[in-house]
Amino acid sequence: MPASEAHDYLWDAAGQPEAEIVRLEQLLAHYRQTAPPRPLPALERAPWWVVLYWSRACRVAAAVAAAAVLLLIAPWTIRRVAYPHGSCDALCLAGMPRINGRSISNSAEIATGGLVETDSSSQAEIRIGLVGRVTVLPNSRMRMVEMRPGRYRMALERGKISARTLAPPFTFVVDTPGPTAYDVGCAFTLETDERGSGLLRVTSGWVQLELDDRQILIPAGAVSPLRPGGNLGTPYFEDAPEAFRVALASLDFGPQDAAKRAAALADLLAAARSRDVFSFQEMLRTASGEERRRLVDRGTALLPPPPGVTRAGLLRGDEAMMDAWRSQLGLGEPKRWWLDWRDILP
């Protein structure tokens, strides 16, 4: 390539000069800056606060200060938003639910002591900050008993609720005419009538039912029947065989005649799967004598306990051995409730 073509004179001022551009350069040259440029007068530095303001150290310090303020404020703000105190929101989901006797069509605030009532065509939702949501289903009556960070207590007088919560265990409590349900980070439905007859169904996490000195921890997938007069049924997995469920109901609530109980127990043991040993373990809390021996023998055959757990230990109710045997069910840990956060999503 010839040198003149390799260069673009306007661009790099090299190679064959273009007459027109050279003429312009010569013509305009007297406007060019004199070299060397005129000396600068005395230089005046920026005031110290300007230097400080624009310095990296100052910006870093400002960022750190802002982060510190955020860190101080955030827990307070989160607590305030997540854990309401004294009142929360009630929303109408269908029909015209009543809050403290007044029908609502949109939303209302409900305070401690407030009453939510639904008829056959209405539903309401109670939003308790970020702790949880309770849907009050038709034909229900529920009172807000306590609302403060760390404890949200409701009393379901009758009807059915569906609750989804994400809170440390025992933050969320529902009283019924029978037992009290303590949330252990989960989703569940609870229904009861005025006499205390109903059902608890756990769909995620765990719920603890308490009545007097009896406590039952119910995992996801299991249900626990409630009967009038504070009669708690043995919890069982909903997918248990029909024969198992019938036999269990007979043992829990049927005639206490020895021959009939023995027959029901035989049916129960015959129909049980390894997963149903969960119900056996609950029954072993109260069973004694021959029933206890049969439950242990069939249970250990269906779900062998880990080494170190002995038949004698299970028969005498050794708590450590019972716990080790329960762990064989692989139902997870109630303590890890916060891993169930997906279950509370709408």
Binding site: W11, D12, A13, L27, L28, R32, Q33, R38, L40, L43
Partner: protein
């Protein structure tokens, strides 16, 4: 930037000037005065440009703590120069360059012609006039303009060629027979 002034050296000069080293700042002044002069001349009257160049650097010295990236000093100085020339224009409302002809030594006819050409360059869009002044008046080549103003070489090249084309058209429109 003077030939051979590397980015590292430039960063060192800017950092030193920011810390109050006046020698370092004077070195930056010598490096960038021509570029600043060209940018000012693209807007401001010639007789005011020398003073404005000094004002640009005095202001830059005071504002130097705000400059975060030393490599951006060219573009930063150019921005200060543009702001100052706009302020000057607002203050004086001068549009004519007649006084510049008196300052030109030698041939008065050439001085009148130079003022007219400069006025035509100043009538071009912003992007073209600065680049053309730096090239035709200050005698900087394309790569030098790109390096000092912080523009990309591609942009400078495009601005030079499009600006030159527009300038030719306006020169011909002014006097179709005279050429430059």
């Amino acid at each position: 930037m003077e030939p051979g002034t590397t980015r590292t050296e430039l960063a060192r000069l800017v950092a030193a000037a920011r810390d109050g080293d006046q020698d370092a700042f004077h070195q930056l002044y010598r490096c960038y005065a021509r570029m600043v002069h060209g940018i000012l001349l693209a807007c401001a009257p010639h007789h005011a440009v020398e003073d404005l160049v000094q004002e640009v650097f005095l202001q830059a010295y005071r504002q130097l703590p705000r400059l975060r990236d030393p490599a951006a000093i060219g573009g930063w100085l150019a921005a200060i120069a543009r702001n100052l020339s706009r302020d000057h224009f607002r203050r004086t409302r001068e549009t004519a360059e007649l006084t510049d002809t008196h300052a030109a030594p030698g041939n008065p006819a050439a001085a009148v012609e130079a003022a007219a050409v400069l006025a035509l360059i100043r009538s071009l869009p912003d992007a073209y006039r600065e680049t053309l002044v730096l090239r035709l008046v200050e005698g900087m080549n394309g790569p030098e303009i790109a390096e000092r103003t912080g523009l990309s070489p591609g942009s400078v090249r495009v601005n030079l060629h499009r600006g030159m084309k527009l300038l030719r058209e306006r020169l011909e429109r002014r006097d179709p027979h005279a050429g430059v």
